[in-house]
Each structure stands twice: as C-alpha cells, then as structure tokens.
C-alpha cells in the first residue's frame, strides 16, 4: 500500500471526485438551462477516473488495455458524431448494450478466476457477480435487438402462442443455472449461464413492438447501471458502485415516467405485446380523400390558425428544415402557426423537440399536449406530418383498441385536417386509424420531405 501519499490513495481520491462530478453532472442535465454543462462535468469525471486507473497496483497487459481503449473510443466517437439526429435513439441503445456487455464480461472473468484459481470470492461477491452477468447479459443482447429494430434491420415482431410462459420458463431455467453455478463454480457452468442470459435478452425483446422501444431501452439502461454497480462491488471499485447505482435508480424512475407518458404500464410493455393481431377497430372505414399539394397550400395560406403535428415520419424524411421554411412563409402570410408535440412523438420522449430545435423552430411555437388540445377546435387546419398513432381517435373512443387510453392530440376537433403520409398502411403500432377516413380529413400522400416541398411550392405560386 505504500505511504500516506500512495498511488492507491490517489486513485481513491480520483474515484471520489469522479463520483461527485457524476452526481453534479446528472443533476445539471435534468434542467434545461444547465443541461449542456452537465455532460461536460460528467465527462471530466470520466477522464479523471480513467487516467487514475492506469496507476492501479499490479496492472499488466497495458498494451492490450490501451489498444482496446483507443480503438473503441475512436470507433464510438466517429459513429456518434456521424449519426443523424433522427437515429439517436438506436445509438443510445447500442452504447448502452456495450456497457451492459462490459459489466457482464467483467463478471464472467471474475467468476472464471474463482473457478480456476485459488482466488476466492465471498458469498456476497459471488452472488453479485452472477446477478451482474445475468442483467448485464440481458442488457447487451436486448439492446442489440432494440438497435436492430429501430435501425430497420429487424422489421418484424416475433410472437408465438404461449410466448410469455415460454419466456418465463426460460428465465427460471437461466436463474436455476445461476444457482447451480454458485454451488458448482466451473468454467462450463459459467459459459452456460452467460449464454442463457444473452438468449433471454433476445427472447424478451423480440416480441416488443417498435412503439414501445424507448421504454425498453430506458429499462435496459437501468439494468446496465445495476450490473455496473454489482460488478463494482465485486471489484471493490467505489466509482462503479456509486455511478452504477445512480443510473440504476435514475433509469428505473425515467423508465416509469416514459411508460406513464405513453399511458402504458411497464408490465404491459414487456408482456402485453401490442399491435398487429387484433383489429377490432378496423370496421367503419370508408374512403380516404386525397388532396393535391397546391390545394392544401391554399387552404393553409388562407387560414387564421394552423397547428402542425410532427411525427416520426417527419424525422425519417429529414423534413424538419423544410417544415420550418414552410412555417416562416405561413407566418409571413399572417397565419398563426403552432407546433403540437405529443410526449412520445419521434422515437423517444423529447426526441421531436430536439429535432425541431435543430431546424431552428423557436421554443415559444412549440406546445405540449395538455396546452394544445383545447386549442384544436379553434384551428382552421391541423397539419399532421408523419404521425399516426398519437392522433388516432381510437385511443380515446374505442375501448377495444390496443392503444385505448393512450393520451392523443385531438386533431379531429379542428375544422380541417391535412395528413401527410407515405402510404395507406397502418402506423408503427400496426393499428388502423379512423382519423384518415373522417369527412374533414384530407390525405396528402408522399414522403414528408416531398410533400412539404409541394406545400412550399404551392405557397410560392399564390
């Protein structure tokens, strides 16, 4: 251990400073005015902790450490810089899965050591190492599936009858393997347990529809935090224990807040796979009425009040900048324009606000659901762009619908509704939308980018 000013003391101090910086950073990130500085505080903490760790007693394999560290940092840094704002959610899922995987691999390593050498672990450490492998493994494979789904690599929900029971039995089997490994610490058992956790993560995530993905990513984020905290105990690393538990708790609460914003319980998200199957609301449909871009532009130009409802389709088409151009033209024409943001518009709560901010839309034009809903009946036109489920009246009117009870933007109360939509298919949740068939609804088919360009063109020709 050396003298008072030993390296190990310096490391402890660094970890303490890092923990404080993480807490301050997270706190600042939870308020809009200070959010930007928050990530920098936390980042400084990370750098301090990482540098100090090189001084740990008895470290070897430095070349391996530095090459893994450098290659991953460069790759992640570049991918993080290059990814489009619209694809952020799946990148968060990917990076989160990596963290969970890291914790799981650490746990497995420590268990291998306990199995093959005289190196002994206390019962508590062994248990937490196993639990860390379990939830870290689920977080790794589950996050990768979530990434694949949002990235469009996996475009189906895989369900089969009795899936929940099968998954529950599988989970019990994996936990049993964990208990068995605890009693018989052997390399093979650790492999089976680790592999089982990875498969369980895949099984759990496959049946969950894309609309629920944000909640799932947030849940796995909390999982990773817990796994990191538990492995931190195994390694007796204070920074990991505190930072991991901080994220574990914050992530759990954040998951609940998100589920609440979508009016779904966590259990419902995980086990009540929604969408597809039941189409009880597919009844009284009728015809969709198409409208040309030029006509739609005229309708809007001569309106007093227009409310724009942007959804994920807007983000996919990268049409937020064009939309802002259209908005400015309308405003110059004396039209009062507002943006209505559903809490889960985009792929995650708050995602749409970020995208609109990127395009330069001022904050005071953007209204939350509670504030805007009473205003729809005074609006001449509600322009829905690439949003579907969040404006589906079935959520309000049809108790048989699987999205019944989810709060929606009540666009059908406005005098006219113009819906920009790519095709005639159902939305992300796979549910038919009665709004599209209402008398006061006009459909403008096309990619959001093209459709908004048509509107701009129409405005110019006035």
């Amino acid at each position: 251990m050396g003298g008072f000013f030993s390296m190990s003391l310096l490391i402890k101090v660094s970890y303490f400073v890092a923990a404080v910086l993480f807490i301050v950073g997270l706190r600042r990130m939870s308020a809009p005015a200070t959010a930007r500085g928050g990530i920098v505080w936390a980042g400084v903490g990370m750098v301090i902790a990482t540098l100090a760790t090189f001084g740990t007693d008895g470290m070897h394999n430095q070349v391996l450490i530095i090459s893994a560290l450098a290659s991953a940092t460069v790759l992640a840094w570049i991918s993080g810089k290059k990814v489009a704002m619209t694809d952020m959610p799946q990148m968060v899922a990917l990076y989160n899965g990596m963290g969970g995987g890291s914790a799981a691999f650490i746990g497995a390593m420590e268990l291998f050591k306990a199995a093959n050498t005289a190196h002994s672990m206390s019962p508590v450490a062994t248990t937490l190492a196993l639990v860390g492998v379990f939830i870290g493994g689920i977080s790794l494979s589950g996050s990768l599936i979530a990434f694949g789904k949002l990235q469009g690599l996996i475009d189906k929900r895989y369900t089969f009858p009795g899936q929940n029971i099968f998954n529950a039995l599988f989970a019990i089997a994996v936990i049993a393997a964990g208990v068995y490994t605890y009693m018989h610490m052997e390399t093979m058992n650790i492999w089976i347990f680790f592999g089982g956790a990875l498969v369980l993560g895949i099984l759990m995530t496959m049946p969950i529809g894309g609309a629920d993905m944000p909640v799932v990513i947030s849940l796995y984020n909390a999982f990773t935090g817990l796994a990191v905290s538990f492995e931190g105990y195994v390694l007796q690393n204070e920074a990991m224990i505190i930072a991991g538990m901080l994220v574990g708790a914050a992530g759990t609460l954040l998951t609940q807040l998100m589920a609440k914003a979508m009016n779904r319980s966590l259990g419902n998200v995980l086990f009540g796979s929604m969408g597809g199957g039941e189409s009880a609301s597919g009844g009284e449909q009728g015809e969709m009425k198409e409208v040309e871009g030029a006509d739609a532009a005229i309708m809007m130009a001569y309106s007093e009040r227009v409310i724009i409802v942007p959804g994920y389709g807007l983000a996919v088409a990268q049409a937020q900048h064009k939309l802002w151009e259209l908005t400015q033209m309308l405003t110059n024409n004396g039209v009062d324009v507002k943006f209505a943001i559903h809490p889960v518009a985009g792929r995650m709560p708050g995602h749409m606000n970020v995208l609109l901010a990127e395009a330069g839309v001022p904050y005071d034009m953007i209204e939350d659901m509670e504030d805007i809903n009473p205003q729809f009946n005074q609006a001449d036109v509600a322009l829905v762009i690439g949003a579907n489920d969040v404006v589906n009246p079935a959520a309000r009117d049809d108790p048989g619908s699987s999205i019944y009870g989810m709060p929606i933007l009540e666009v059908d109360n406005s005098k006219n509704v113009i819906v920009i939509k790519r095709g005639r298919g159902t939305g992300f949740a796979g549910i038919q939308n009665g709004l599209f068939f209402k008398d006061n609804t006009k459909m403008l088919f096309g990619d959001a980018q093209e459709a908004v360009s048509e509107l701009i063109q129409g405005m110019k020709e006035l």
Binding site: A35, G43, T50, H60, V83, G99, I106
Partner: protein, 102 residues
Amino acid sequence: MIDGFVALYVFMLAAFVGNEIISKVPVVLHTPLMSGSNFIHGIVLVGAMVALGHADTQLEKVFGFIAVFLGAGNAAGGYVVTERMLEMFKSKKKDKKAEGEK
C-alpha cells in the same frame, strides 16, 4: 474495503440520490437524460481496465479485452451523442433569458 452493511448503505444512498435527481425532469429532457445516464454507466470502463490489467489466462485476456472495448465504446459514444443532443438546447438564447427572469 466496502463490505457488508456499508455496501448496503452506499447502494441505498446512491439509489435515493439517483431517484431524487430525476424526479422533477421535464419531458423535453427525457431523451438527453437517458443518454446522459447511459454515458455515466460507462464508468464500467475503469472496472474493465482493472480486470484486464490482472488477467492471466488466454480466456481472461480475451474477455478482458472485450470488456474494455465495450466499456470504452459506452463511455465515448455516450458522451458524443449526449453532447450533440444537448447542443440543440443552446440555440434558444431568448428562452434561456426568459427562464432567468422567472
């Protein structure tokens, strides 16, 4: 050493702090905050470094290498993505002033 009940207290207190910090967050910040907390558990990197630094067998080295790689990816990627998201909150200078006046 953090052991037994001391560990339990640390777990408990950290959990309360995490819970408390998030409890008043506006919806606008949900995504950036998820991303920010995602960055913070990138601290797993330091554990992975220590583990690889003490790895002896071939298997341990492979696992340790993967752990460091994944942990560093978590930390670096998490930082960049969060920073870019929060960057969006900068352009609203007027808004910030308005909040300052409150």
